[in-house]
Every structure is written in structure tokens, then in C-alpha cells.
Amino acid sequence: MPENIQHLVMWLIPLAPLAAAIVTALLGPKGMREKSHLPCWFGLAVAVVCAYVLLFSIVPGGFGEHESQAVVAPGYQWIDVGGLNVRVELRADAMTAIMLSMVTAVSLLVAVFAAGYMHGDPGYARFFACFSLFVFSMCMLVLSSSFLLLFVFWEGVGLCSYLLIGFWFQKPSAAAAAKKAFVVNRIGDFGFLIGIFLIWTTFRSVDFATVLGEPQRLAELAAAQPGRITAICLLLLLGAMGKSAQFPLHVWLPDAMEGPTPVSALIHAATMVTAGVYVVARCTPLFVHSPTAQVVVCCIGGVTALIAALIALTQDDLKRVLAYSTVSQLGYMFMALGAGTLAASDAAPALATTAAMFHLYTHAFFKALLFLAAGSVMHAMGDVIDMKRFGGLRRALPITHWTFLAGAAALAGVPLLSGFWSKDEILGALYSAGSSESPYHGYYYAVFAIAVFIAFLTAFYTFRAYFKTFWGEERFPAEAGHHPHEAPPVMAWPLRVLAVCALFIGGLVALSGSFAGYLHHTIGLPHAEEPGLRWGLVFVSVAVVVLGIGLAWQMYVAAPRMPSKLAAAFRPLYAASLNKLYFDEIFWAILVAPLRGLAWLAGWFDRVVIDSIVDGLALVPRWLSAVPVVFQNGRLPSYALVMWAGLIVCLALAVRLFASY
């Protein structure tokens, strides 16, 4: 493909959604109203086409060869003065192309669904303007060529998520959730920004090409300053933890359910939460030089995944179950990212990153599917989402039922479906890290055990939600009316397409080995042969999945009384899980309340002490300026006199030079 056309294609991917956002924002509320989704659809369709063109053009000459350059599309040089050179340009390599193909495709499907779901909302145009802007920010984030540009759009994604989570800002809970998401993300961004500063002082550059693309230099710097590299990695990780909802910054994600359901699908599947995983994966060349940072990544992933899975066990809100499952699956990806230790083998980082990105990819499809299906349930049930109030929907909502089942099976890791393949690769990566020579291999074994346990929990809670919603006695809430209606075609088709993707995409990609074959063209990832299926691991994971689903069937279909008996028997445990392990309360007690106290104290200090000092300081300029006022008296002779005196001083200063000879 000619270079300039390739550059155009790259620029079109973010700019088409941006144009859609601008058009919708300008014309939507007054002109287009109920047709406001059209620019968004069109812009995203263009982006999807371009993303796939890019996907097939970025790695030339087949997958086998291992030499490919990142394509840099020059954009705009903002300023170049002295040592300061700020450029806005796009950079694409294999990882970018894969991310874009997922982000744009899932976003488009969600946008199609949203046109049906949001129909009749007074903020219809605003929704699609924000939606397009969100996709634009995410595409730019993925296409950024430097940490600086990445950070700009990192914040852009945060802003758009704030706008969309708080879309129904009249609801106090939605406004609070939007604020919570933004504030928690800011904590991560703080670390991220410091990490970027550290990168600048260490590498004298923030370009990916310089920081990540020069392995020789990177190795020398890492050998010289191992602590510095670890610090950079941990700070970047802090940012990623905020965006990707990792413990202890995971608290915003479940609350983000307050936004419209398509927004949940977008945030959880395609755009926001994947940003953190993407950044850590992108920085793999940095992380491999810091085994400590890697094991931290892995352990945080493990803890997050475990906590989220335990909470998901008892939630009654269908969307919350899915939200915690997202947190848990993101934890899975982080486990994989942390497992790429060089101690296992030279190829381990590439394999681990591939596993994480693969899971990210398959997860995006089936999680978008599950959320949209949940949205379809909400739509039919008159916005009720509490699983205690409805049941047995499989006859009333056949399409939703089948598509939800496809997504749930993929998420649970039923053999041969998408989730199975990617989860298997992650378990494999963890197992090889555990059996390596790494000084931390004990941690890796522990995380591996947790991961297997979580696979069981995932299968259980996913099918618990499925059985509670679609099986059992047929019940509808009063809000739904007498005849709940199945999703209209505009909502049903995205569900069908996503269901097909959820079922088959993982198998297709995994069996052909094309994902790893493609991804290793990313700069800084060594080529690695896929190890093939480990039958022992496969057996274990299949066993836990069957166990989980079977238990769910037993508890929620065969013996529906059992859960309440169990809950009564283990009341404290049940209550802990139901109340999200009291994280919000713990945060309140150990963070928010002391911070409020501190804020009150600081406020007092500010009012009494600082204000006095500032007011005092502000008086200083006024006192100082009282002196020249004497001369500024409006009298001409006085002015001339001071000018003359000034001249004498100038002469004296200049002639001092003469005297010094």
C-alpha cells in the first residue's frame, strides 16, 4: 500500500469519529434530533473499515517474516524551539492495529444497539456526540506515538467517561458515580504523570520509538539504574490500575453502571478499561527489566481477580455481576502481563503479553455481548435489573436468551469457545513463570492456584446469573407491563453478530496461531513459538468449568432453596460478599473519613494561617509600589529629573567597564 494512503487511513480512524462528534454536537440538538445516531454510525463505520485496512497492511509480506517497522503518520508539528519539539503524529504497529480493530468494531456494534436503547431519550444527540468523542479519544490513545500524547488522550478518555457515566446527571447517584470514576482515575493519573516525568529524565525523550524501540540502550540504562526502571514501571502501573480498575482502585467500575447500559458495554469492553492493559502491554520492553515490577503486576492482578470474583458470587443486580466479572477478568490480564518474566525463557514476555492481549480481545467481544444482552433485559423489564424480581425469561426473550448464553459460556470458559482459549494461554503463562528459576516463582505458583480457583468461581457466578435470569418460574416485574417485548431488530442484530464473535473468534484465532504470529511484530516483543496446548492444564480448566456450571445448575435450577439455606448458614461470609467485601466502607473509614478530617483541618489552617500570610504577602507589593508613587506625581520636571538620574546610572554602569581595564 502506498505510504501516503496508509497515513491517510491512519488519520481517518480517529478523525472520522471526531468529525461525527462535532457534527452531532453542532447539529444534533436542533437539526437531527432522532437521527443523531447517523453521523456516529457513519464515522464509526469509516473507522472500522480503516482499522481493518490497517490491520492487513501494517504487517507486510505475510506473518512469517520478522521485520516490520512501526508506521508513523506525520501530523502536525506544534512547536520546535531549542530542545523543545512537540509533534502530533500517529504511530501504528501490530499491537495498535489489533487494538484498533477491536475498539472500532465493538464500538460500532454498541452504537447500533444504543440507537434502539436510547430511543426517545431527551439527551439523544448529546449521547452520540459524547460516544463519538469517547471512541476518538480511545483511538488516539492507541495511536499515540509518545507518552505525552498518550497522556493527553488518557485524560480525554477519562473526561468522556465522566460525561457518559454521568449522562443522566439529574440522578444524584449517576452524578456521584461519574465523580467517583473521575476522582479515582485522577489518583492513577497522578502516578502516571510522574512516571512520564521520570521517563523524560531517564531517557531524555518520551517517544515510544526512543524509549521502547532501542533494546541496547534500554538494557544499558536498566543495568545502570535498576531502581529507576522499577520506579517508572510501578508508576505507570499505578496509572494503569486506575484506568483498568485494579485493586485498590477498582471501586469506580461497578458504580459506573449508573450510566446508560451501552456506555457500560463500551467502557467495560472496548474503550476505557482496556487502556491500562494496553499501556502495560506496550511497555513490556520496560517491564522485563524489572522482575519486581512484574511480580507486583501479577499479584495485583491476582488479588483483584479474586476479590472481584468473590463479590460477584452474591450480587443480585445483573449488571453488577457483569461489572465485577469485568474487574475479575482484567485482573486475569494483569496476571498474564506480570507473568512474562525473562527467568522463564527468552520468549516468555512475548508469550505472556500475547496471552493478555488475546484475552483482552476475546473478552471485549463477549463482555460487550453480555452487557448489551443485560441492556436488552432491562429494556424489556422496564429498567428493572434486580434478579430477584424477574426470572424464567427464556421464553419471553428468546434472542436475548440465546445470545446471553453464548456470552456466558464464552466468559465461563466452556471448551472451544473464545474465553476458553485465551484463559488457557494465561494459565499456561502463569504455570511457566511458576516453574521458572525466578526468585519470585513461589508467588507465581500462588497466583496460578488463585487463577484456577477463579476460573471455577467465574463459571459459577456467570451461570448463576444466567439461571436466575432465564430459568425457573416465569416472573415479570410490574414495570414491565403484561407482555415484555423482545429487543427490536436494531438491538437484536448487534447481539447476534457479537454472539457469533464470542463463540468463534477465539477458536479461529487460537487454532490458526495467527494472533501471536501477528502480535510479535510489535516493536520490542521477541518472536516466540506458541507452546501448543498443555493437556494437563486443559483438563484442569475444563474440570473447574464443568464443576462451576454444574454447581450453579444444582443451586439455582435443581434445588432453588439451597442458596438461601447456604446464605443463612454462612451469614457473615454471605454478607461480606453481598456488601462488596465492605470495600466502600473500608475506604470510607481509612481514606475518606480521615481525608475529610484532614480537609477540615486544612481548611481551618488555610483560612486562619495561610490566608493571613497570603494577605500579608499581597500587601508587600502594595507597600513596595508606594515608593515609585512618590515620583509618579504628574509633574513634568520631576519626570525629567528621574530620567536624567537614570541616564547617570546607565552611564556609570557602562563606564565601570572602562574603569575595570
Binding site: Q77, W78, I79, D80, V81, G82, G83, L84, P621, R622, L624, S625, P628, V629, F631, Q632, G634, L636, S638, Y639, A640, V642, M643, A645, G646, L647, C650, L651, L653, A654, V655, R656, L657, F658, S660, Y661
Partner: protein, 496 residues
Amino acid sequence: MPQVIEQIRSTATLIVPEIVLLAAVCALFLVGPFLVNEAGEAPAGLRKRWGFLSLFALVVALVAWCDGDHSLVQNGLFRIDGLVWYARGLSLIAGILLVLVLWNQIDDVHSAEAYACLLSIVMGTNLVAAANDLISLFLALELVSIPTYVLLYLGKRDRIGGEATLKYFLLSIFSSALVLYGMSWLYGVTGTTNFTMIRDALVNRAPHAGEGLLEISFALILAGLCFRLAAVPFHFYAPDVFQGTTASNAALLSLIPKVVGFVALIHLIPLSGATDGWERWMPDHESKLLLAALAVATMFLGNLMALRQSHIYRLMAYSSIAHAGYMLIGLVIGDTAPVGGREAILFYLATYGLMTIGVFALLSARAGDGQPLKTDADLRGLSRVQPMIAVLLAVCLFSLTGLPPTAGFLGKLNLFLTAWSDGTQLGHVLAILMALNAAIGAYYYLRLVALMFLEPSAAEPQPVRLAWAPWLAGTVCAVASIALFVAPQWLWDSIP
């Protein structure tokens, strides 16, 4: 005789834009009086016709400027190089904006003379840049000064205006005398008035010859030109004159003398520093200290005094003093730093012109019909009464403060980088003092923004008709301030 004609012809080709302006000036001065009758009455709308004629002349000059090449040509009195090209563009565009601001600030009777003076000032600015001889430089400087006196008088002929004019007139003559005296010392050392020959004479002179004399010349010229920059302690006229004159004159005084002063200094300082052109000029230690002292005193005094003002014109006068201080930092560093001081000054002049002309244009945009905006009380709650003016004014004030996303931020950033990248202790100190001053400045600029947007309006909102010309000039300035932030590189690259 044919030889003289040939010389005139070849010199004339170097100053085509100025000749265009001269033609317009002649027409205005000669025809203007005949359209006013003996009772001192003029046909209504005469000022608009003269205004359009001036705009036309400026646009033709601008076309001639675009057309002409700016490769180095030296011809006795004048030389053409990149600096001339840049300064011409700057002054012609500023001239167009100033004509628009003058639109409703002058009555029909005196309009011809006022526009003629404005065009002469623009012409003088161009010739200062093109001068290659002490004589032509001094004449060009006076071509700026003398029409300024007339313009100040024409703008406002009451007692306060008369006082302002007289103050400016007397002090300006004093400063011109200083410059001329300094030039005569330079002539005394070298025996010639031509820049090229002065440079040759200084480079080839005997060691230590003329030392001391050169420094006196340097100090005198610097002191004289500092009056135009409004640098401390030669700034005293500025607040009184700004307060006593019209918006258009204040806008003119805040920009044009600074352009003239800095361009003249860029010509003259390297000469008396005895080096071969600005490119290799680096101020020696003593002149560095002198310039740094001027810069620091000017910044601090301008900003501190501006804190006390409630009259906006007076505040802008002190702000113009403070900005002169910032630019003097570029002169201290010279052209040795990785980011050149001269480039930073020239860039800053362009951005400063946009913001200061924009402020005065917007303040006067409704002066024709409603009340002129002059004091704090007039700005109170402006955003309710005149939302567009308030927003544009806020953009210009942000630019003066140096906040992104406006051009003022980049101007300050360049000067800061200049001072910091110099690497000396003096450079670092100056950079820090400049940042400190920008913070002090933020207080009084943002106070005005707060007045406009946060305070309740004193009067009932009533529609006020806007005068289109200053309104257009103000809009162009505010929009250009933002556009220049987005795309600054072309301007930076066009600086010689």
C-alpha cells in the same frame, strides 16, 4: 546628475511599501483641508472615506511587501534583509488594525490629518528597520515621533489630552536628544555614519582605541531608546499619557514605539559592542548587568504599579511597561543561547501587538454609542450586557497573562526558554524573576476577567450598537491570539 538619479532610483526600489504609504500621506494632507470649510465643518462620514483610503494604501503596501524579495541588499542609506521584512510585515498589519481602532475615535474634521499621521508612523517604523546609516535611522525615528505628537493632540483636545500631549512631546524630545548625542559619540569614534563602515572601522581599529567612548555612546543610545520602550526609569510619561488619550492612541503607543525601540537597539547595540553584526553579538559582562538591571526594574515596577490601578488605560500603561521588561530579558541574553534572544523578542512583539491592540479595540468598540469602557466600574458585569465583547476581552487578557491556549503563553515560553537555556546564573535568575512577575501580572489581569464575569452588572442590560471597525479589529486580535497558539511554527520560522 544622471548618477544621482540612478542612485535615487536604486534606493527607491528598496522602499516600495514606504513610497506607497508616502503617496497616501501626501494625498491626505493635501486634499484633506479642502474638504473642511472655513467654519470648521466637514461632510458627515468623511472620516470613513479617509479610513478606507488608508486601509487601501496599507493593503497595497502589504502586497508590495509580499512581492518584494528579502535577500540582503545594501545601498548606502538603506539595507534590506530578513529583519526588515519581518518588521515591515509586523508594522503594516499593526497599521491596519490601528486604522480600524481609530475609526470612531476621530471626528470628521480632523480625520485626514489623523490618518496621515498614522500612516507616517507606520512608514517611519518600516524605515527604522531598513536604515543602514545613523542619519537615516535618526530621521526614521523622528518620522515616528513627530506624527505621534500631532496624533496625540488630534485625538483628544481637552485639557487632560493637552497635558498628556505636552508631557509626551517634551520628554520625547529629551530622549531623541539623548539618542542623537549617543550617535554623535559613535560618529566621533569611527568618523562615519554608515553602519557597514562603522562596523569595519570598529573591527579594524587599534586595540583599546575608543574604549570608554563607545560605552558612553552605548549608554546614551540605550537610555534614549528606553524611553520608547517605556523601560524604567524612562517610563513616567506612559501612565499619564495613556490615561489622557484615546483608545487608538493608547494602542498605538503601547506597540509601535516598542517595535521601533527594539529594532533600533538590534541595529545599534551590536555596533557599539564592536562586533560584526547581531548574529555574533554577545553582550559583555557590564552591558549584560546594565540591561538585566533595566529589565528587572521595569518588570517589577510595571507589575507592582499595575496592581494599584483602577483606570484600565492606566493599568494597561503599566502592563505595557512590564512587557517591555520581559522583552529586555531577550536583549540581555543576546543571540548566543540555543533559543536566540532576538528571535524571542521579535516573536513576543507580534504576540504582544495582538493582545494590546485587541484590548484597546474591544474597550472602544462601543464607545461610539454607549459609554466608553475606562474604569473598573465599567467592566463590572460586562458579560451580561455584552457577552461577546467580554469573551474576546477575556481572551486578550489571558494572552497578556500568558496562559495557554493563547499566543501570549508561547511568547513568554520562548523568552523563558531563552533565559534558561543560556545556562548562566544570570539567565536562570532572570527566568525565575520573569515567572514571578508573570504571576504578579496574573493577579490584575484576571481581576478584570473576574469583574466582567463574576460581578453583577451595575446597569440594566440594554442593547448597545457596536462600531464595526474596532469590533472587527478586536475579534481578529482575539482569534489570532488563539490561532497563533495552535500554529506558531510558521511565525517562528519567518523570524530572520
